[in-house]
Symmetry: C2
């Protein structure tokens, strides 16, 4: 998949995988792979800065934990983030409808 196509949809993906339960960055990357059937391989250089950005905005909160001798920063959806996720979902539906309507127009006559 063209990686640039993700632009502007990363937030929706991250908020979405955190909807069910809090996860740390590495687990988020794995969750994206699983849920996408292996299609999404988002690099760490994309995920970690994005998570920090979402926390700065207020959609996520984080706390450190040590599990099996390894440090994890676990992210959790805030109320604001949960609300935002709803907005992202409806924006996604609108987006696909709009682009889809143009791509499917093909030889159809408009007017």
């Amino acid at each position: 998949m063209n990686p640039d196509a993700l632009r502007g949809h990363m937030d929706a993906l991250l908020l979405s995988v955190l909807e069910r339960e809090p996860l740390h960055g590495y687990a988020i990357i794995e969750a994206l792979q699983e849920r996408s059937g292996g299609a999404l391989n988002v690099p760490t250089g994309t995920v970690y800065p994005a998570l920090r950005r979402l926390e700065r905005i207020g959609y996520l909160s984080s706390e450190w934990a040590t599990v099996g001798g390894r440090k994890r920063r676990t992210y959790r959806l805030t109320d604001s983030g949960r609300k935002q996720l709803q907005g992202e979902r409806s924006a996604w539906r609108e987006f696909t409808n709009v682009i889809g309507s143009v791509l499917r127009a093909e030889a159809r006559v408009i007017g």
Copy 2:
């Protein structure tokens, strides 16, 4: 619609509106508005550079014409561009499937 969401999909949109017939830039902008039900208002500063880029790549060819005293640069799909459009369409389907599968996963248990 969040304008940044268009990133990476502009090419598909432009190639798509040129599939039926050659059009000049201004008409392309109008066609995008019509086909999207008014949702797509792509600024000239986006369209004109993008068209030149697509021509440089080889997906489009262009020629000048004068209609009603006004100069138009009319763009037309090349064979390469027509082929690319097919690729853009299947990439779009894959893209929506992948993102959609993550966004719809919600409370569903994976595994």
